[in-house]
Amino acid sequence: MSTQEWKFTAKDIAAKPDLFLSGHRACAGCGPATVLRLIMKATRGPTIVTQATGCMEIVGSIYPYTSWALPWLHTAFETAAANASGIEAALKIMRKKGKIKDEHVDVIALAGDGGTYDIGLQALSGAVERGHDFLFVLYDNEGYMNTGIQRSSSTPIGASTTTSPAGSVIPGKLEKKKPITDIMLAHGMEYVATATPYYWKDLLSKVRKGLEVDGPAFLHVFSPCPRGWRSEPAKTMEYSKLAVESCVFPLWEAVNGNRQLSTPSKVIALAPQKKKSLKDYLEGQGRFRHLFTPQNNHIVDEIQQATDERWQKLLRQCQTSQP
């Protein structure tokens, strides 16, 4: 990792041409579309992107159009990481044989929560174990949105989806969200971080840090989906902010396993009165609407308690891992 930190202003970023182009067919107010645009603004040179099947792969590549202004490769649902390792290995050998210019090429693998939490987990684990130099970006919209809002192992407890419908039998999804970043940290990765598009400066600098790492890096980006969350398109970014403020999705980064809170979450850690209640975040999202009925009210309290416990645990982890 280079010691020099990347400095940028909003005007620098706005002046940089988009690499994920306009004219893609994402829904109005799509969170992941913003995430992809911003991530591509943080690239530092020649880059190859490989993407697993998912919402953002579909919307950006409807034949004969493509929204990618850089080499982009679509792959099967489970193989974003396997593909990235192949690309990285091919670049290495071609450089050795003199078939391509001797310069560094960044490899970014993109996948949704389905392609990371569920289907692509073994490929990701394998690629990380082999130590390929790539950045894996997970855009997490908490479900299989493009196939009709099915539950994934990223869907939070209590959320209603078409395969965990809230009704008289169950109050939405019964299982907890899988702690994917803990799983990735346990691989001993050099760089693991969480980000949301609302704090775009934080997101951009984390992408750049992930690219600078000489080895695999993992970035978990929280990306609200107005269609699947049944929320207002205009509030997409507000939810990505509320998720941080209510500590549902705290922002942190771990360099060599040392967890550090990032500024937006550090502010809340230092001034706990700024922490918002979970209700602020859940309200307005149609997928949690059933929780605000008298018979389900206790579930909100239970989720609040679980969220607080997770936050306290994270605070302890960040304290103990201080250098």
Binding site: S22, G23, H24, A28, A33, M237
Partner: protein
């Protein structure tokens, strides 16, 4: 104009031949962002958070420009603008 190739004629790994910049998504919208240049402080939050990349900063005029050809009218810019310089309106309300 040459005829477009069908899926049977293109190579096995399909190569998308057109940039999506040629596919205008601006007609999806109901509401249009109306931008008040006097209130605007050029903080560029709207340009950063726009999912479409439809908001550009023009350094030569020192102002923000909206591209109606791509704007889908989601309203994120109006919701996030810290000085409320953007409001969403129906196109006929303009006059």
């Amino acid at each position: 104009m040459s005829k477009e190739k069908t899926w049977k004629e293109v190579s096995i790994a399909a190569i998308a031949s057109k940039s999506s910049v040629g596919f205008l998504t601006g007609d999806w919208k109901t509401y249009m962002p109306k931008h008040d240049t006097e209130k605007c402080t050029n903080c560029l939050v709207c340009a950063m958070l726009c999912p479409e990349g439809a908001i550009h900063f023009r350094p030569e005029h020192n102002k923000v420009e909206f591209n109606d050809n791509f704007c889908k009218g989601c309203g994120i810019c109006a919701n996030e603008c810290p000085v409320k310089a953007i409001v969403m309106k129906m196109p006929e309300e303009e006059k």
